[in-house]
């Protein structure tokens, strides 16, 4: 509905109302990290700049673009089920997705009860954004996505192919058949007692092939 339209139809008015509501209805958008804080909490936090300009109509009826407000201290959410989790710290400039909850979830994030109270009645608010560490543009090179990750669990099954049979730090090292034949021959020749059954050591933290963070 043009600002100067003195004779809007009912449809014009309804459309204008819907557009007005949509302008403040947060769903999902993209952003970049301004600051990232682990701060010892289970859920790290990040300050996010929304990476898309919004539009609004001025008093003169002219549409103008504007940079949206910074979203401070949003929770950053990683995949975590039971003892298994995937975590990779964010840095300033990283691309992220931002989802906006349909209700106030701040109390839920803080307390984690089965059923939580909404602290306010706000809906789809910019204040209820959560950050997902997903890159969204072609400007991020593929190589930048593959470094510095940590996978943590009581048991990790790596995939087939290049990673099949990969070891972990402190895994037991057992003698193979050739090594046993050789130590048996040494015992016969020298009379030195044979090695006890079982592991003969573990993977050293100095290993350059197996790493932990």
């Amino acid at each position: 509905m043009p600002h100067s339209d003195a004779d809007p139809t009912l449809v014009d008015v309804i459309d204008e109302g819907i557009l007005g509501r949509l302008a403040t209805l947060g769903t999902m958008t993209i952003g970049k990290v301004l600051a990232f804080r682990e701060s010892g909490e289970a859920i790290p936090r990040a300050d996010i700049r929304i990476a898309v300009r919004a539009r609004r109509r001025t008093e003169e009826g002219v549409w103008e673009e504007y940079e949206q407000v910074v979203l401070p201290d949003l929770p950053v959410m990683y995949p975590k089920v039971g003892a298994a989790s995937v975590y990779f710290p964010l840095a300033a400039g990283d691309e992220v997705l931002i989802l906006f909850a349909e209700r106030d979830i701040e109390t839920a994030v803080e307390e984690g009860a089965d059923i939580n109270r909404a602290n306010t009645a706000r809906r789809h608010s910019l204040a209820d954004g959560v950050v997902l560490p997903f890159s969204w543009s072609q400007s991020v090179p593929a190589s930048a996505r593959d470094t510095g990750y940590v996978i943590e669990s009581d048991l990790i099954k790596l995939g087939e192919g290049a990673t099949a049979g990969a070891a972990r730090l402190n895994d037991d090292v057992s003698p193979n058949a050739a090594f046993t034949v050789w130590t048996d021959a040494v015992t016969v020749a020298t009379g030195v007692a044979s090695l006890p059954a079982g592991a003969i050591g573990d993977i050293s933290t100095a290993s350059s092939k197996v790493q932990v963070e």
Binding site: P8, T24, Y66, V69, L71
Partner: protein
């Protein structure tokens, strides 16, 4: 100045009706000016202009009854007999209500007072009588949108009994059971400013008509003294009407009983 020539005006025929309530919708005033020159009509086309209605009876003095901004798209000019009538709607705080925005990003624990201060500073609205209920936003307060929606959300967080409204360009926030602190006028047959008899309305309130007293405002408590109904009433609706060519100036009030 279109009205009274004694007050430095043009002596034009001016009529008005206002309507104000204790809801967050701004109070409105329909103004009719007769035979306004085409050059002067422009004052009603700019939403940035402030139109003020001043009226009153000699006993109470002439004071501001209403002040607000023209609403875009409401200006109409038509012929009525031999006159050309210019009609426009003005709204109390209308410009801030329609176009006032809040763009704010506050990190950390934020109180309702901090949020209100930002709303007032960015919208241009003043602060009237404000009774805040403690509301804390523990991690952040972020808002991008109209100032009126920010006020809706803020007051909504204070509880269902709290309301906000604009009065004379100022935001008032108070419990629906509370009143603003100013002393209101007395309407009585003895004073001669009560027109007819007050009538009870559903829900325990009354409606009455009085001679126009510019001090009547929504949220104030007024006293009514009549043969059948006497007491203090909080004004929840106030409608002024006036016409300088007929010397007809009244106020219609809906009030709810208020224990002082």
């Amino acid at each position: 100045m279109f009205g009274n020539p004694d007050g430095g005006g043009l002596g034009l025929h001016v009529a008005f009706t206002t309507r104000a309530g204790d809801q967050s919708r701004p109070a409105e005033c329909q103004v009719s000016v007769y035979n306004l020159s085409p050059e002067s009509v422009g004052v009603f086309t700019k939403t940035t202009n402030l139109v003020t209605i001043r009226a009153g009876h000699a006993s109470g003095g002439v004071r501001q009854v209403f002040s607000g901004n023209p609403v875009a798209g409401t200006l109409v000019r038509h012929k009525q007999g031999g006159d050309v009538v210019t009609k426009v709607t003005i709204r109390d705080g209308g410009r801030a209500y329609d176009f006032g925005r809040l763009e704010v990003s506050l990190s950390g624990k934020t109180t309702e007072r901090e949020v209100l201060n930002h709303i007032l500073a960015q919208s241009g609205l003043g602060e009237g009588h404000v009774e805040l209920t403690s509301v804390t936003f523990p991690r952040r307060y972020v808002f991008s949108g109209t100032a009126r929606r920010a006020l809706d959300e803020l007051v909504d967080a204070m509880g269902p009994s709290v309301a906000w409204f604009i009065r004379d360009g100022n935001v008032h926030i108070l419990d629906k059971a509370s009143k603003t602190p100013e002393e209101g006028p007395v309407f009585s047959s003895d004073l001669g400013n009560l027109v007819g008899s007050p009538e009870p309305v559903e829900g325990g309130g009354i409606r009455f008509k009085g001679l126009l007293d510019p001090s009547v405002r929504v949220g104030k408590v007024v006293k009514v003294e009549s043969k059948y109904i006497t007491g203090w009433f909080k004004v929840v609706e106030a409608a002024f009407a006036g016409d300088n060519f007929s010397s007809s100036f009244y106020v219609n009030v809906k009030g709810v009983a208020y224990a002082t």
